[in-house]
């Protein structure tokens, strides 16, 4: 899952991402690409995030645990 997330992030942010990539250390992670990232994640993992969750998903590690949590609940 982690690799898939990184793959999507690399594509959306158009830069190589790492495990510790977050909104602050990735210049291309702007608000518009953030939404595109979320939309791709929702589609890929067949989950839906609430607006509050979307706002909190500011790093790849948070993203991963969020998806993990959603997938476990299904």
């Amino acid at each position: 899952m982690k690799e898939k997330i990184k793959e999507i992030a690399t594509e959306v942010f158009e830069v190589q991402v790492h495990d510790d990539t977050n909104q602050n250390n990735c210049e291309n992670w702007d608000s518009l690409r953030h939404l595109n990232f979320i939309i791709e994640l929702e589609t890929e993992f067949d989950v839906s995030f609430e607006p509050e969750e979307i706002a909190s998903m500011t790093s790849l590690s948070i993203v991963e645990s969020m998806i993990q949590e959603k997938s476990n609940n299904i």
């Binding site: 608000s31 518009l32 939404l35 595109n36 939309i39 607006p51 979307i54 706002a55």
Partner: protein, 529 residues
Amino acid sequence: MEFFIFRNMTIERFFSNYKTSFSGYEDISFIDPDAERYIWFYLAPIKTDNKVISAEIRNYIDLLKLTISRIPSSKTFIIFTLSDIYSINTITGANDIKEAVKYYNSTLHELALEHNNIKVLDFENFLSRYSSTELIDWKYYFISQMALNPRLSNPFHDWFKKQVKSIELKRKKCLILDLDNTLWGGILGEDGIEGIQIGGDYPGKAFLMFQKQIEELGKQGVILAVCSKNNIEDVRQAWSLNNSIVLKENHFAALKINWVNKADNIKELAQELNIGLDSMVFLDDNPSERDLIKTVIPEVEVPDFPTQPYMLPEFFKSIAEKYFSIYNLTSEDLSKTKQYKENALRNNVKSTFTDMNDYIRSLEIELSIEEVNNITIVRAAQMTQKTNQFNLTTQRYTDTDLSEMLNDGAKIYTLSVKDKFGESGITGLSICKLNGETVDIDSFLLSCRILGKGIEDAFMNWILNELKLLNFKAVNSKYISTAKNIQVKDFYERFGFEIISESGSIKSYSLNLGDVQINLSDNYKYNYK
């Protein structure tokens, strides 16, 4: 850059397959002169008052006309028709919206007739594939003003690419038609004049419709020609004796009815009609004939012909849209067009506004400026956190930070904007720190929602004026560059500030208030509480 896109909603995602840049929301003030082409992509505003919605839609046309006058006529300007993707039919005034949309779209077609560089794209053609609930994802609308469901972006990419291609394709001039099993069912030489299938029951019915459709194309200026392996006497006899045949000799500009190979015939047609091979489309039911032309004269368009007559309507639609679509309809094509054009002129499709100033005045903008209070301080802090583009220093503060500044005597001004279409709430902020007779402008920022109407200048001038009235002598300010605020890099220069120092990402300025003449633009009404 391939496209510069004027828009009123968040739509970046829908054009991510092109190199683009975007206007601000409803912002027509800036037109990128380097763009190869321009796009106008407005959606019906999502608001609750139907009267306001319809008034805004009508206003969009005025914005559009002003924009058209400012775009070089040598560059393609693609304009999307407007669709109302969310309105509630039971609410009074829903009909007003329908009327406004109708007005908007019919005006587009009139404008396209007047300006050759304008191409109107029927957006409904895309939207109609989806149900109304699929069109909007309210979650994304509320968090980012994306009115169109972001999941439609992929199908949109494909659709739009096709549209662009068809706009760029030169309209074909000539349709070359085979006869047997193409314009009628059966083979004239074998089945005889009354044996061929045209008119009456199926399949004759299908061929009849096909012929009538082609006749319409002819009326629109498409040159029709025949290329058929037949005896010309047989065909002429059929034309004179079989009254079900719609397309007769007088419909065709040229005939190649003989037993010579079709490639040679088509080359001769091109010479006779004095048109290029690349402006011809050839229809033939026989795959080997099609193959011959595709191989020998690749310039000629040779679409696959349907295997069953009932597929003809769909086929006709596709070739008509692909090769003979009205995007490039010129006034010479069609006498009807001329009438339409005259009507359009009579209806006076002149721009309502002569220039930007005129437009701004028509908006009846009111700027309400207040010093921050207990209630607005939260929103003020939020603005410092969220505003990236029109933000001179990009300092992020919490409401506690702001309270402390107030305690230290700072003046924090908030700006709310109202125009004839509604209110924006607090969308501008300036933090002025007082230092004896000098003021330091710590922050100056505006939400991108209100840009493009000169409000940024009016707000700054108002502040400078206010500081002058308060007897301050000088103002210091800064521009700190970030990846996102390039658009304001020369903002202070506009007001007569002088650069004191420039190092790395920081430009420092100073302005002597005694020296400046401040003109508060009368395009706006100012309220100060």
